[in-house]
């Protein structure tokens, strides 16, 4: 069956009663496009105020957009839920095959409610939805194995997505992630723990539909121009060649690469773990998300000899990216690329958000260094900068939550530092751990205000970088204006689920063109207005759930360690945060 170009069907699943139903929500997709826009509306509808994020009352929303399956790089799935890490809006995006599979199965979105009483996994093949027993998968030590089992058992090779959680999600670590296709993640804000609390181990989805545009001829023309731009643009080439890890070297040169829990913003051994070093020594394969010709996913090959068996090797493929190298590398001062790969692999197996995990381990190392905790708190492990073995063992203990300290750390550095001290150097922004850009005040205003608390919210780092390059210091109002402008446009991109790497191609005029043959009649102004509206909808949800600027604080460490833009003033940052909220004009 072919679908209409504007998505409409939402699949609702109730895990408590093991039932499902489909509703036509054409009006939502007509007005809010898809992705982030539709997800925030559904979240408002589905989640009652003040529910416990780890209770059956939390709801998981997945959405894709009208460009998914139609144009290249509209390849992300947006997940929204209430975050167990921040207690507020949770938003996380992942690629892989997730978005294409959801759309090709016939849906614009999926809403998962309730909780199962025993481990379960969902198999969605087109219209067929099955609730399958996942007792055997529960507790498996590696998220790779779970993927392998499901790959053998379920149909749909090549047109399916296999999402799953690791032990971290089962054991409700607040920053557990959901892994999709082994190497992509709904990384931030703890979606994995929400799955764990619902006893949802995995979700397999597949389909093979086609989609009828309103104007097929125009559709092919626009397609060709986008494809051309994507495959010829130098912008995309960099993502293909070195991938995001190309950022290590320039950010380090700039002195904006957080190192040793941000005691410094420069890593003396950065050249050993840079994108160039990985590409030259370890790169084994590049892969792509479905319907994305760029292929920015970089897999390293790690070959480890067995100590006991001569000429026996364990060969592992491990995906790396800028954020992982920052959080598990420079933050922990790891200069051994092999050690770093092993640590990344461990984090991947357990299903943790690499960024939160790295920041948590960095904070714990400093806690031990200052004598605020002891070896006993760490169950005998001495965390030491650069000692990857100790970190690998600590990840296991963290997931096991073998001591009171690990239990607290599993709830994030903000929570743990409230109990154990060390708040001044706990790099938490509204409950979420810091991304890897210490570029200047705009980045930090962005971390505190962004809905996803990601460096990709409003791209503060790039505002800082531009101001550095042009040697023009921006005042607080200028920073806030550019953050809001960028972030509201990003609401459109993430409603169309366009990968942010393609933002240089999907500029406003291109988006207008791409939407036309599908049957949307929107101009640039309409899009800008809608972007702001979606951003405001998110804030309405945040405030409803108790978001409070007065409770937000810039970690002291941020203002102590100079950034390339100079010493960061907490007053300046907080003024920016206040102005940001004021300018959004929520009432």
């Amino acid at each position: 069956m072919s679908l209409e170009a504007i998505p409409s069907k939402i699949l609702y699943i109730d895990l408590s009663s093991r039932s499902f139903w489909v509703k036509d929500r054409h009006e939502l997709f007509q007005k809010y496009l898809g992705g982030a826009g539709v997800a925030i509306k559904l979240l408002h509808e589905e989640i009652k105020p003040n529910v416990d994020p780890l209770s059956a009352d939390n709801v998981i929303v997945f959405t894709v957009g009208p460009l998914t399956g139609m144009y290249p790089l509209a390849s992300k799935t947006v997940a929204m839920f209430k975050s167990p890490l921040t207690g507020n809006l949770g938003e996380s995006h992942a690629g892989g095959r997730s978005a294409i599979s959801i759309r090709m199965a016939g849906y614009g979105g999926i809403v998962i409610k309730g909780a199962s009483d025993r481990p379960i996994y969902l198999a969605i093949h087109g219209d067929k939805v099955s609730f399958r027993d996942a007792s055997t998968l529960w507790g498996m030590r590696s998220s790779y194995t779970v993927g392998r089992v499901l790959r053998e058992f379920e149909s749909g090779a090549g047109i399916r997505s296999i999402m799953r959680i690791g032990r971290a999600g089962e054991r409700l670590v607040s920053y557990a992630c959901v892994v999709t296709e082994t190497y992509r993640h709904f990384g931030r804000l703890g979606l994995g723990a929400v799955w764990g609390s619902k006893r949802l181990k995995a979700l397999v989805i597949s389909g093979r539909r086609s989609i009828k545009p309103k104007d097929p001829k125009l559709y092919r023309e626009v397609y060709n121009s986008i494809f051309d731009a994507v495959t010829k643009s130098p912008l995309m080439k960099k993502y293909h060649e070195l991938g995001t890890s190309m950022n290590i070297t320039p950010l380090n040169k700039l002195r904006a690469l957080p190192t040793r829990n941000l005691k410094e913003a420069h890593f003396e051994d950065a050249d050993k773990i840079s994108g160039e070093a990985f590409a030259e020594r370890f790169l084994g394969r590049r892969v792509a998300c479905a319907h994305c010709p760029v292929s920015c996913i970089h897999l390293a090959i790690l070959r480890e000899p067995y100590v006991t068996e001569p000429y026996f090797y364990k060969t592992t493929m491990i995906s790396y990216d800028y954020e992982l190298i920052y959080a598990l590398g420079s933050m922990l001062r790891l200069s051994s690329p092999e050690g770093l790969l092993k640590l990344i692999d461990e984090v991947e197996k357990e299903g943790l958000d690499a960024m939160s995990c790295g920041v948590a381990l960095a904070w714990a190392t400093e806690m031990l260094e200052r004598g605020l905790i002891t070896k006993d708190d760490l169950n005998g492990i001495t965390l030491k900068w650069g000692d990857f073995d100790s970190y690998i063992r600590a990840v296991d203990q963290l997931v096991e939550q073998s001591t009171e300290f690990y239990k607290a750390l599993a709830k994030g550095v903000e929570y743990a530092s409230k109990r154990y001290g060390g708040e001044e150097f706990a790099l938490s922004f509204g409950g979420n751990e810091m991304p890897g850009y210490h570029t200047g005040p705009a980045a930090h205003i962005g971390y505190l205000t962004g809905a996803r608390h990601s460096h990709l919210d409003g791209a503060g780092y790039s505002i800082d970088e531009k101001s550095l390059a042009s040697n023009v210091k921006l005042n607080v109002e200028q920073i806030v204006d550019s953050l809001i402008k960028e972030e509201s446009w990003r609401q459109i991109l993430s409603s169309l689920v366009i990968c942010y790497f393609a933002r240089g191609i999907y500029r406003p005029d291109m988006v207008v063109k791409a939407l036309k043959p599908l049957g949307y009649d929107l101009n640039e102004e309409d899009l800008n207005r809608l972007g702001i509206e979606i951003l405001r909808e998110k804030y309405r949800f945040k405030f409803r759930e108790g978001f409070d600027i007065k409770k937000l604080k810039l970690p002291k460490r941020v203002s102590e360690t100079p950034s390339p833009s100079g010493q960061i003033s907490p007053e300046f940052v907080m003024e920016g945060v206040n102005l940001y909220i004021k300018k959004l004009n929520l009432e």
């Binding site: 399956g69 090779a157 319907h291 996913i297």
Partner: protein, 140 residues
Amino acid sequence: MMVSSRLSVVDVDLCVGCQSCMFACTRRFGEGGLSKSSIHVRSAGGFERGFVVIVCKACEDPPCARVCPTDALRLRIGGGVILRKEKCIGCGNCVKACVIGAVFWDDESNKPVICIHCGYCAKFCPYGVIKLETQEGGKA
């Protein structure tokens, strides 16, 4: 002298699994998505192992045509087959006969889709994995 063409997989190790080729094949009909695609790319058992590109090999004596009870699959010049839709009864025998799985199914028309070796997909493969090759003296 007859000139014919066929799609060939030049180097599967270059494939990144982007599936641009699959989407291109359905787009020949002005549609998005995949239901009309006659090329399929899947992982070789996990992304880390690379990919498998499944497409009609243009058999000279095609088993898919041999098992067709209504003669709906006519031999194509240069190998492979062409579907005569009006004759096809949707029995699915051809699907089973092609051991490499290159007969795909379009649920909408309830008929097979098999590569016609037009090469449209190859234009959208950014990595040169697949190529349309022309050969002289193709057999019918």
